[in-house]
Symmetry: C2
Subunit: 350 residues, 2 copies
Amino acid sequence: MSTIPSIASGERGEEVDRVEAIMGRGGTRLRKRMESTELYLERVTAQAGVPLAGHASATIMAGGKRLRPLLVVLAAESAGCSQDMREGEEQLIRAAVAVELVHSATLVHDDLIDGARLRRGHPTVVALAGREVALATGDLLFSRAFGELAKNGSGTQLSALSAASSALAEGELLQREDAYSPHVTVERYMRRCELKTAALFEAACRLGALMAPAGDPAALAGALAGFARRIGLAFQILDDVLDVSGEVERTGKARGTDLLDGTVTLPLILARAHEPQLASFDLATLDGPGGQEKAEQLCERIAATGALGQAREQALQLVAEAKAELPAILPGGRSELLELVADAVVERYS
Amino acid sequence: MSTIPSIASGERGEEVDRVEAIMGRGGTRLRKRMESTELYLERVTAQAGVPLAGHASATIMAGGKRLRPLLVVLAAESAGCSQDMREGEEQLIRAAVAVELVHSATLVHDDLIDGARLRRGHPTVVALAGREVALATGDLLFSRAFGELAKNGSGTQLSALSAASSALAEGELLQREDAYSPHVTVERYMRRCELKTAALFEAACRLGALMAPAGDPAALAGALAGFARRIGLAFQILDDVLDVSGEVERTGKARGTDLLDGTVTLPLILARAHEPQLASFDLATLDGPGGQEKAEQLCERIAATGALGQAREQALQLVAEAKAELPAILPGGRSELLELVADAVVERYS
């Protein structure tokens, strides 16, 4: 395989270009590591028994940006894993693979719950094979993630992945708990984003930093986790902005999908503070016939309050903070590529 | 907590008595270890964030036989972990906890797919809180299992658990693949039982054996895995016999539940060989109104062929083989309690 299929087949133009630019700056070594990750992912899913192989493999191979594996590899490189490390090299690739497997597992389970038909332009596992198969495929991807990382023989690495994986599930539960609620605070929303999104970004950076061949890997892992947390939060906020601003060609989803699902996101929380009538708006009234149209009207009302700009501003602030602290953590120009990743998170939505 | 609630509150009388008898023979040390496991399980689930704690905790605390943790502890004791081991003691309890957490995760996910209302006499998570919460609760229990075991810092232990956890998911997929099929062979059925049931029994014994303070833990783990595999297979076969024989007071489920679900189990496979009309019977015809009644009639027809006795015989044979090889693996009377566990698997159904 001479190119990385996820990037070649990505559906979001600018974002892919941005990742491509990072790959260009990273040079041959980065490209080689990301290709190794891709080949490894292919091998892990192909190893699974038939009929599983088909479903797991289709999910993984449908691609995506591989943003989380990229964070693992870049964190490792910034931590000094700059040479081909022989044994360490394999550890690094396994960590990148494990993080992507956990991410893929959550996508398969999310699609199961949402009854989503398409993901990244391909039919979802639940659409192709039903709920039972989607549930088991997600469970299998989770199990394989831990199985691959276990080969590194490091309890610290496994604890990092397990913490993120637990956080993802807790975030999902928090989201259910808060669904349709008129009382979700910004703090509570941010906590959910930490659990649902930022925790896996954090784990990716932690795992990469833990590969450091010298120095104090644990301290570096802690410092980079702060960076990852901020860009993870920004990533989720901007995703939630996009749901309301409704650039369908970028999201591939109908406008207001989150709202229809009862999910209270930052734009709505901020808009509620501006407009008393929105504060008392009950998302449950979007259920039923004409819901899509009502959701679009609600999106318009949210946008009219200026909440989208405000939410976007919070995300930009988080990214700026994340970038600002990097040079102190990684002096000597070692922070450059991670800063570009932070930019990529923002520019996708600009 | 002075008694083990799972055992005090078990709904299956004889089985609980049998486990109680094993506890009695094991003495104070075994009882203490099982109580520590119980307390640890309680702590793990209570630590989870609200609202999760409630659901995860209810699932775990509703009890069950704790057969898998018992296998972990007995395998460890047979491997020489006979003293309080200080640091090793904590490792052992964590392994027992991790295995039970994986088992609980699969129960929550199984109930989600089956839409089951009751489990062990208590409302299921899906019944109480819906599909999203059940999905996330299962994911969380999986994640916590690996998180707890990661604290032991052993890649070998984690690989054993991950292999079992992957097998469980693969077994579920195989079951879906073979649903309603008129062509399921005995070999294929046994493969499914290995994946769905025996793999976690194996992991339990492997984990216990790996705690051995001396000797060759890996070799012992391999040898005990063979024992565990056989009793796991017998356990599943007898469960499938019970579904057809229909002692509802023991199963808590309606007779023929598996058949209604399209699941082809050993009694049906064997009966098909006896009666040509059964070979061409389409389980899909059980769907729809009157299905329960038709399933019961099918159970009667299967029973009339003598297939239940044949299947039970295969299970007994597996248990006899499992017991026969134990004394050579664990000489000097160290095999006694594991033999009693093997008996418990059978006697439950006799």
